[in-house]
């Protein structure tokens, strides 16, 4: 079973494949286009000025952070329901990527908030619930990476992953109500929801595509990495059984 028919050619020892290389090139092209449109070609916003350019990366990152969370919950559900190891790895890979994206969203949001609101942090509903989301994701990753049995880690983290999206929804709802009770409406009016059009809208659109390509590329690589980690865990079971049997061999 473990006979190696052909040795791997040098250079193939990676999580890359032809598909990911094409995707990677597309992602780089997309990011270059995003930089061109977002930083050079699009005009400054009438009310926000140059700061609006932050949103071309901030908003797509936020969207894909949420998509990552949805994938984590779906993957965890499929794992718990169908015992699908494939989906479990999807859940883990997208949770880790979602964590990176959420951290980026938080930091860029704070940088955007400084010139817009005059402070890095306000207890705005969106900002606060994103911070809570980051904590929830860190909890998931903490359990998934426990130095414990593979079965224990996957099962427990899957339950947390399953509850991730419901938790995010409830947290968002509660934070929203909480802030609207003491609302400072000027803060929100200046927010991301402001209407944009023309080249600015197009730049945002490019942002979605470029960040989306990066997300997909990362997801495939991270998934394959997680799969390899599992293979490493499984490897040697046959050998371990043989060794175990030989312990009792009469000498």
């Amino acid at each position: 079973m473990t006979t190696q028919l052909d040795a791997a050619p040098e250079g193939l020892d990676s999580t890359g494949s032809r598909g990911t290389r094409v995707l990677g090139v597309l992602a780089i092209v997309g990011l270059a286009a995003l930089a061109l449109f977002g930083l050079v070609l699009s005009p400054p916003d009438a009310s926000q000025g140059e700061v609006v350019r932050i949103l071309y990366v901030h908003v797509p990152s936020a969207t894909f952070a949420y998509i990552g969370c949805f994938l984590t919950t779906i993957g965890s559900a499929m794992f718990l329901w169908r015992r699908s190891a494939w989906w479990e790895l999807v859940a883990y890979a997208s949770a880790e990527i979602a964590t990176v994206f959420t951290a980026i969203v938080l930091v860029t949001g704070m940088i955007w908030g400084r010139p817009t609101w005059g402070v890095f942090w306000v207890w705005d509903a969106r900002l606060t619930s994103t911070a809570m989301l980051l904590l929830l994701l860190l909890g998931y990753l903490a359990v998934r990476r426990l130095p414990a049995d593979h079965d224990v880690r996957t099962k427990r983290s899957a339950i947390i992953g399953l509850l991730l999206v419901p938790n995010v929804i409830i947290v968002r709802q509660s934070v929203q109500w909480w802030r609207t009770l003491h609302q400072k409406p000027t803060l929100l009016a200046n927010g991301v929801g402001a209407k944009i059009e023309g080249l600015m809208l197009f730049s945002l659109f490019i942002g979605f595509i470029a960040i989306g390509l990066v997300f997909a590329w990362l997801l495939i690589h991270r998934f394959r990495l997680a799969w390899l980690e599992d293979q490493l865990d499984d490897a040697g079971l046959d050998a371990a059984i043989a060794e175990r049997r030989s312990e009792g061999e009469p000498s």
Partner: protein, 45 residues
């Protein structure tokens, strides 16, 4: 508001730098761990 390019650059650097660092780490980890797993278990290569 034209003096805010500093914020814009900082934000973009964080996005590109963050994603870049994470990508490089993922790829490098993938390379090192690939060497420990027999190639027939890597279905994509």
């Amino acid at each position: 508001m034209s003096g805010n390019w500093g914020y814009v650059v900082a934000a973009w650097v964080i996005v590109f730098g963050g994603l870049g660092t994470y990508s490089v780490r993922t790829i490098l980890r993938g390379r090192s761990i690939s060497k420990q797993v027999p190639p027939e278990k890597r279905r994509w290569s």
